[in-house]
């Protein structure tokens, strides 16, 4: 019987999506902030890595030539 309980919920409440939309609107706003920080952090790290790689490659090639 407990297994069938979830079937009660959305139907009884009329299954309006307005509450969902209101919530997900807020969710997206918070997630945007979070993602911006997240992407910015790793993007900066990767840029540094790429610069370092190119420096290292140049120095390796220089030591090949000597």
């Amino acid at each position: 019987m407990a297994r069938s309980l979830p079937g009660l919920r959305p139907s009884v409440l009329g299954a309006t999506d307005s509450a969902h939309i209101g919530f997900y609107d807020k969710f997206h706003r918070i997630a945007d902030d979070h993602d911006r920080d997240f992407v910015k952090k790793y993007d900066g790290d990767l840029d540094t890595t790429l610069i370092f790689v190119s420096l290292l490659r140049i120095s390796t090639l220089v030591s090949f030539s000597c």
Binding site: R9, G22, F23, Y24, H28, A31, L46, L61
Partner: protein
């Protein structure tokens, strides 16, 4: 003698006719051994840095994909977004990105070693400079790694020290992983066994029966419908994955934001979500705190602060909903502990007349009763309530969810639920059909009539 013989054998093996003792033996005329050694290390350093460049490039692509917005409704996008976020954690994106500099550091070390080695052979004075700097750098690195491994507060954290810390912590996690693997394996084995026996005794179907209320293990992977395996009825398509991702989103949002409007939006959406046992923590304490903030506790009994009536109603409704669903689905120990801690500091709030706001008063009353184990509190004054339709239908479905475990445990309905049924059925004009259907189901429970399961779970109970 032996050596000469060996040379002759080697020469003949190479197809040359030996004319002298060392005539046909090939002589190495390539670069010096040291040069080969140094070049090998230099090439490995170059490859390591190129590999790091490849991963860095891929990392940029991964980040771009993560940041890209997808098509679809706002709800769908939200659920997918949360799944992407979870994927980042599950697949340890952080660790991979942190490990990328490790490759570069290894490449740098190899370069230093190769240079020192080469210069040591060529010129010892020049070599001493390079060796000095390389060994100083290595020493410094080892020092900061060990310092950062020993103390997490040390600001010189490196990927290596983070990995060391992870490995130390891994001890318990590792055991858990092994246990999970073993459980998964035995489940697979059981599954195969079941298929095998099912093929053997195909005609004997399982005996239909009503599952025990508290013997519900929840959905396996979050996608299957738990009702689907009940024999004798059509499977009900409840999308557990959707409920799971909704509640994950709510958990995450609650964690990230303390804003009042975000909390209100969450409180509004909670009654539309199934808090099944797959969800680890119900944010009960948080909502209780929100509810308390709405009250002016200086007066007795506490009263709602002006302008916070809606907030109080929404948070109380969310609390009641979560508690009821949790008790209906799992009699979890954790849940009991949380509830006990809440009821220890709870004051009765549902007695005051909130300027004729029946919705708020009845919700707070039900909340008081849930914390006071229903029977111990004073009974609700249903006759004097005038509910709004959405509140009334929420109340009826919520009480029906509550009535099922109550009937199984106490063999009778709490007096307040009886009062609610009588009040709803006596209303003139009568309430919407769904509310009446809920009340009739509760009466059916009281009369020990097993409600037909498929009717109970179908969207329209009429």
């Amino acid at each position: 003698m032996n050596h000469t013989l060996l040379k002759i054998i080697a020469s003949s093996a190479l197809g040359n006719i030996p004319t002298g003792a060392d005539a046909a033996f090939p002589v190495w005329n390539g670069p010096d051994g040291t040069i080969v050694h140094v070049q090998t290390i230099l090439y490995s350093s170059l490859s390591a840095s190129l590999l790091a460049a490849l991963v860095a490039m891929l990392g940029k692509q991964w980040l771009n994909r993560y940041a890209s917005t997808e098509l679809g409704s706002i709800i769908e996008r939200g659920r997918r977004r949360k799944r992407k976020m979870d994927g980042m954690v599950t697949w340890k994106f952080d660790l991979v990105m942190e490990c990328l500099p490790l490759m570069l550091q290894a490449a740098l070390l190899l370069l230093g070693y190769a240079l020192s080695n080469y210069l040591y052979v060529t010129n010892k004075v020049v070599a001493s400079v390079v060796i000095g700097f390389t060994s100083f750098g290595l020493l410094f690195y080892l020092l900061i790694v060990s310092a950062a491994t020993l103390s997490y507060d040390c600001p010189f954290q490196t990927p290596l020290s983070l990995i060391f810390r992870f490995l130390v912590r891994f001890d318990n996690e590792h055991k858990k992983c092994l246990r999970r693997f073993r459980e998964g394996f035995s489940r697979c084995l059981n599954w195969f066994r079941r298929i095998f026996t099912w093929k053997k005794n195909r005609p004997s179907l399982r005996r239909p029966g009503v599952p025990d209320l508290f013997d519900w293990n929840g959905p396996g992977d979050g996608t299957e419908s738990p009702a689907a395996d009940l024999p004798g009825r059509s499977p009900v398509t409840l999308n557990w994955g959707v409920y799971k991702s909704d509640s994950d989103c709510i958990d995450w949002t609650l964690e990230k934001s303390l804003d009042a409007d975000v909390t209100m939006a969450i409180a509004r959406v909670i009654p539309e979500i199934v808090w099944h046992p797959g969800i680890p923590a119900a944010p009960l304490e948080r909502f209780y705190d929100v509810l308390l903030e709405c009250f002016d506790c200086s007066s007795r009994p506490p009263t709602v602060k002006p302008d916070l009536g809606e907030m109080a109603y929404l948070s109380a409704r969310a609390l009641v909903d979560m508690v009821t669903q949790r008790f209906a689905f799992v009699g979890s120990e954790l849940m009991r502990a949380v509830l006990e801690s809440i009821s220890a500091r709870h004051q009765t709030v549902g007695l005051r007349d909130y300027e004729g706001d029946s919705d708020l008063k009845s919700t707070l009353g039900i909340f008081d009763h849930i914390l006071g184990n229903w029977e111990s509190s004073t009974s609700m004054d249903w006759q004097n309530f005038t509910f709004t339709i959405p509140h009334h239908s929420w109340m009826s479905s919520n009480l029906l969810t509550h009535a099922i475990p109550a009937i199984q445990t106490f063999d009778s309905l709490p007096s307040d639920i009886r009062g609610f049924i009588l009040h709803s059925l006596r209303l003139d004009p009568s309430p919407p059909a769904q509310i009446v259907a809920d009340c009739l189901f509760m009466i059916g429970l009281l009369l020990d009539v097993q409600p037909p399961l498929n009717a109970l779970s179908s969207p329209d109970k009429r």
